[in-house]
């Protein structure tokens, strides 16, 4: 338990250091992009969904897998769509 808690706290600090410099302009893509990363829970869902033996565990896992995949695929795609729109002023203006 203790090493995991260490990982958790250190990662929070890394997150704070890296993310406090994100400009206001990119706050929405930051939210949707980081939200897609929180879909990492998908790897837990994969294991549950692929499990043999437990019927309940498996089907709860399948629903979790669908929800997590929506989160991951949708999140990264919509963030990409948004970021594509952020353009600099053309040089000739």
């Amino acid at each position: 338990m203790l090493p995991y808690t260490t990982f958790f706290i250190l990662s929070m600090f890394i997150g704070r250091e890296v993310l406090s410099k994100v400009p206001q302009t990119l706050h929405t893509p930051l939210m949707s992009g980081s939200n897609a990363i929180s879909g990492i829970t998908i790897i837990g869902a994969l294991v549950s969904a692929g499990m043999v033996g437990g019927v309940w565990a498996k089907w709860i896992g399948v629903i979790a897998l669908i929800a997590a995949t929506i989160n991951v695929v949708g999140g990264f795609m919509v963030t990409d769509r948004m970021l594509e729109m952020f353009k600099k002023k053309p040089q000739d203006v």
Partner: protein, 467 residues
């Protein structure tokens, strides 16, 4: 469960890619690459997991991936930029649900394979994951309904809400304690899940439209923390690291939003502040001391704008409602052709989520280097000929500076009153979400241009062309 060195290595690389990707979000130039880097990290983690497991029942795994991937892709492709706040809320909710369910599946596995739970305290991560994940899910769902207009954006409050809230919280904590004391795991977990759903609903129902940026950021933080809690359940470091990163991001955004409103998170969660401005009632056009407002017309405004040296546009939620971003860009282009310097001033809480205005204006091809944050542009209003306020009100209300009785007192604002002329594009005299009268309307250098923001700006474009 996640033992092999190969998988551990793949997870480590995935975590590094997430951090590198998030770091690239510090600049709009590299942001897109950063997002793709994070997506590659995710793909790597998924492929490694698939290879690591002896795939005994691939149908369910592939089926889940295909169905979820299809639904997510359709939503991401179909959404209009104006619908972005509710989509972000919805994705948040799915993330929270997934984390809670994975924890639930792990409990179910222990029951079904008769592994036994050992010390009930060893599964604390699972209880927390279910609690936080389910709150995120139902809370985001209500936020989605409110943001998409399927439910009123006004605060929904009922008598006894605090009692219900306190009872549910106590019962949720109580059920975890009961598990510790050796109560029946399965039924108590179900009760905990149900109570968490109710808590999420109770949490978001009383939140008014204006506080939405705070609550959307807060739910974002919760979805990350739920993933991290699930990481504790599965003893999986990549989940813990990623969840903590997302949690940190959400907490940071929540703080930025609270500071920009001069409100504490606690006060936001208590709720009841600020509904949607539906313009159903109208405010006074004359003050008690006899001061009145000055209305103006599109052609007068067009002349003023065309002969200005410098114009700053201040967009607010009204711009999003009217979807006037393309017309605003057209107007700005025209003015630039006339030799006018045009900039945009964005208040951090303008709109319904962090960065809402920036996304809308980016959609309309407004270059991001014309958008300025509050602290970077406030000193420029002094040297500005016209401040054009499109659908914003409280974020420019000088009462926030000096009126200690005002509910928005202390909120940092855009200093549009320093400009030579201020033009408000508004539908009516109705006050902003705070319900506070904006005395700036009655200043001699203020002009009111009434009407729907989109129609008004379209008229302005026509008139400027005619100048």
């Amino acid at each position: 469960m996640f033992s092999s060195g190969f998988t551990a290595g793949a997870y480590l690389i995935a975590a590094i890619l997430f951090i590198r990707g998030l770091k690239k979000l510090q600049s709009p130039v590299t942001a897109r690459r950063g997002n793709r880097l994070a997506a590659i990290g995710m793909l790597l983690a998924i492929v490694a997991t698939l290879l690591d497991q002896q795939i005994l029942t691939p149908a369910e795994m592939i089926g889940g991936l295909v169905v979820g991937g299809f639904l997510g892709a359709v939503m991401a492709k179909r959404v209009k930029m104006t619908g972005m706040p509710e989509l972000v809320a919805a994705f948040n909710g799915f993330g929270g649900l997934a984390s809670a369910l994975v924890a639930g599946a792990e409990i179910a596995r222990m029951v079904e394979q008769q592994i036994g739970f050992g010390d009930p305290r060893d599964n604390t991560g699972a209880y927390l994951s279910i609690l936080v994940g389910m709150i995120t899910f139902s809370g985001s769902f209500i936020a989605f309904l409110k943001l998409s207009g399927k439910m009123t954006g006004n605060p929904i409050q009922f008598t006894g809400r605090y009692i219900v809230l306190a009872t549910c919280t106590a019962a949720a904590v109580g059920s975890i304690v009961w598990i510790f004391l050796g109560g029946d795991m399965v039924s108590l977990i179900m009760i905990l899940g149900g109570l968490s759903l109710i808590l999420g609903i109770l949490l978001v129902l009383p939140i008014g439209g204006a506080d939405m940026p705070v609550i959307v950021a807060f739910l974002n933080a919760l979805s990350g923390l739920a993933a991290a809690a699930t990481g504790f359940v599965l003893s999986n470091t990549v989940l813990i690291i990623s969840g903590a990163l997302v949690g940190a991001s959400g907490i940071m955004l929540t703080r930025v939003m609270c500071v920009a409103m001069n409100r504490r998170l606690w006060h936001v969660l208590v709720g009841g502040f600020g509904g949607d401005s539906d313009d159903s009632s109208d405010g006074a056009k004359q003050l008690e001391d006899g001061r009145t407002i000055t209305s103006t017309t599109p052609d007068d405004t067009a002349i003023l704008l065309s002969y200005a040296r410098k114009v700053i546009i201040v967009p607010g939620y009204g711009l999003a409602v009217a979807q006037a971003q393309h017309q605003v860009r057209e107007l700005a282009d025209l003015l630039q052709e006339h030799g006018v310097e045009v900039k945009y001033a964005i208040h951090p809480v303008a709109g319904r989520m962090p960065g809402h205005m920036n996304v809308l204006l980016a959609e309309a091809n407004v270059p991001y280097d014309l958008l300025f944050e509050m602290d970077d542009i406030n000193h420029e209003f002094e040297s500005t000929d016209v401040a054009l306020v499109v659908g914003a009100n409280d974020v420019v209300n000088p009462a926030a500076r000096h009126d200690q009785t005002s509910p928005i007192y202390g909120m940092p604002i855009l200093d549009v009153d320093q400009a030579k002329t201020v033009i408000f594009l508004k539908r009516s005299m109705r006050p902003g979400y705070s319900g506070v009268q904006n005395l700036l309307f009655f200043e001699p250098n203020t002009r009111m241009l009434f009407g729907d923001a989109k129609d008004s700006v379209t008229d302005l474009v026509t008139e400027v062309k005619a100048v």
